[in-house]
Amino acid sequence: MSVTAPPQPRPAKAVVRPGDRIFAGAARVAALTIMLALAGVFVFLAIEGLPGLSAPAHIYAPAEDFWSYVGPLVFGTILAAVVALIIAVPFSIGVALFISHYAPPRIAAPVAYVIDLLAAVPSVVYGLWGGLALASAIRPVMDWLYENLGFLPFFAGPPSVTGRTMLTAGIVLAIMIVPITTAISREVFAQTPRLHEEAAMALGATRWEMIRLAVFPYARSGVISAVMLGLGRALGETMAVAMVLSASPVVTLNLISDTNPATIASNIASNYKEATPDKQALLIATGLVLFAVTFAVNFAARWVIGRSERNVAR
């Protein structure tokens, strides 16, 4: 188990073979290319989208100006992602712990395999399933939520008769991000040093206490990275939302009514095909906003994590 040690300062020059140069160069090119691609996307969005900020008023119908057009979309994007995360994260952590710590290897391997398989299902298929099967199947649940928890703004109803609501979209998104978060969480849980776990057990901890004391603190940052990746997918997911959601340009926390805010990505997908150049510019400008929102959300999340980790370290 030799980990490459940092190069020792030696009087003689380190040997550099052609392979070293080629590999270092290739790695550098790869890193620069991805930065350039990202910059290229940003420049494209900025140039093409700029006219969309000040288009004739009728382009924004039924809103009046750019910010009132994009506002509900930003809200919808974040709401859908948050609903998806609230459902998916506990689920993923549970599945990952089951695979890494509870299940016998005979069962763990196939379960892990099936979860990975979920990641390969195209989002259009999730959209079809969500719109045609899940939406009607979930209606009784929404009726129940409305009757029993209707005093909460989330379930203020009245429940949609078709079931194509923000809650349904959130569930579909959650199923889509579970494979990513599970796969990464599973890997970091499995990396927990055996000694930590055994030490916890030796102190008389039960299995759950061992996981809480040894596994979670160790895996915290890895799990958060996993959640960030899932969040990224939820924010940008297009087809599944476009096919499931009954969308209107509104801002509402109500998750079960027939009136739901669209997400930026699904709005672009629904409207781009028939768009005039003015409208295209507007849609691209909303894409730019999504770019900024994703960046801001990631930045905020990293900041929160960084702070909590400093607290833990203290």
Partner: protein
């Protein structure tokens, strides 16, 4: 053992396939001969080259049928139809990116497009002929009820959220003897910008007797309510809930309850023939050139059997083209589209309403005169 049984199946299978193919070939030959009686199609036999057009997505499935029909008669021709939407289609036609365009609304001078199109066509008026007509069915989902009679005013109130239950007196008054449930009405609209919405809201606004206060538009004017993307999404949403009502292309409305709309004193169910008839009795837009068949659809017609909730999509082209090959291709293809054969192909494969004879004849005359400079 298994292999032999497969072989046994394969031989007669291939034989059947060969028979079917020769059958098809023969049928194609026949139809080609029929088309050959008009001079445009006989000229078409020698056509070759590429033709680029595009525009309204409502025409997309019909264009697929037309392209297949025309290319089977003219194997050396490649036609593309890019369903980029009516607005972009018109702009690409004006910028010469497309040789012809499909559009759900006619050119007008609100944004200077009529003059721009004339300029693109070397100072001559652009050709506009109706090519794709389709009835918009108003569909609903109420168990046990297959059809309802409604007038435009009641429909406008339903879609505006003023009438909220199916047993509302306004609905009951039009439907004697129908046992209406007290189910809540959930109107469904298209979430995307669409020609169907444009035509439907045009109908509500013109025929609704003041009950519809919004302007006709491709984007649904009311915030909130059940929304679905595309015709298939609309149909799925209406099927997915009880008490829903929506509007969709008549060819896609299978299995749902259909609204018969009031025309004069009678109630007319959606049909291709009814739509073609309503278009035929519509008034031409004033001040247009002879080659411009732009029409304002008469939503308030009282003509017996006419169904005024329809979408008429136009083909836009020039009278003359600089390039002789381009002119021949546009003339050949557009002549095929407005011919009986082309209209039948669209009716079979896209559920379109074939143009009424008088309109088809005039359209054929116009596109038949396309020539090179």
């Amino acid at each position: 053992m298994i292999r032999t049984s497969i072989r046994r199946a394969v031989v007669p299978g291939i034989a059947a396939l060969a028979l079917a193919l020769t059958g098809c070939g023969a049928a194609n030959d026949d139809s080609g001969d029929n088309g050959g009686s008009t001079d445009s199609a006989s000229a078409g036999a020698s056509l070759s080259g590429e033709l680029a057009g595009g525009g309204a997505s409502s025409q997309e499935s019909a264009q697929t049928a037309w392209r297949a029909g025309f290319q089977s008669a003219n194997p050396d021709v490649t036609i593309t139809y890019d369903a980029v939407g009516s607005g972009t289609g018109r702009e690409n036609f004006i910028s010469k990116a497309f040789s012809f365009a499909g559009s759900d609304s006619y050119l007008d001078d609100d944004e200077g497009q009529l003059s721009a199109a004339a300029e693109r066509c070397g100072g001559e008026d652009a050709i506009e002929v109706p090519a794709y007509v389709s009835a918009i069915a108003i569909v609903f989902n109420l168990p046990g009820i297959d059809s309802l009679n409604l007038d435009a005013k009641t429909l406008a109130q339903i879609f505006d959220g003023k009438i909220t239950t199916w047993d509302d007196p306004a609905i009951a008054a039009l439907n004697d003897g129908v046992d209406l449930p007290g189910t809540k009405i959930s109107p469904v609209h298209r979430s995307d910008d669409s020609g169907t919405t444009d035509n439907f809201t045009d109908y509500l606004s013109k025929a609704g007797d003041g009950a519809w206060s919004h302007d006709p538009d491709g984007v649904w004017p009311i915030k909130g309510g059940e929304a679905a993307e595309g015709t298939s999404g609309m149909v799925a949403a209406v099927k997915g809930g009880e008490g829903t009502i929506g509007y969709a292309d008549e060819s896609q409305a299978g299995g749902l309850g259909l609204v018969s709309v009031q025309v004069g004193k009678e109630f007319v169910a959606p049909s291709a023939e009814g739509a073609a008839k309503a278009l035929a009795v519509s008034t031409p837009v004033e001040g247009r050139a002879d080659v411009d068949m732009a029409m304002d659809i008469d939503r308030t017609t009282t003509e017996s059997g006419a169904y005024p909730v329809l979408l008429a999509s136009y083909l836009i082209a020039c009278q003359t083209y600089d390039d002789a090959a381009e002119a021949d291709l546009v003339k050949g293809f557009l002549s095929y589209i407005v011919s009986d054969e082309g209209q039948q192909a669209a009716a079979e494969q896209a559920g379109a309403a074939p143009l009424e004879a008088s309109l088809a004849e005039r359209a054929a005359g116009i596109v038949g005169a396309i020539s090179a400079k």
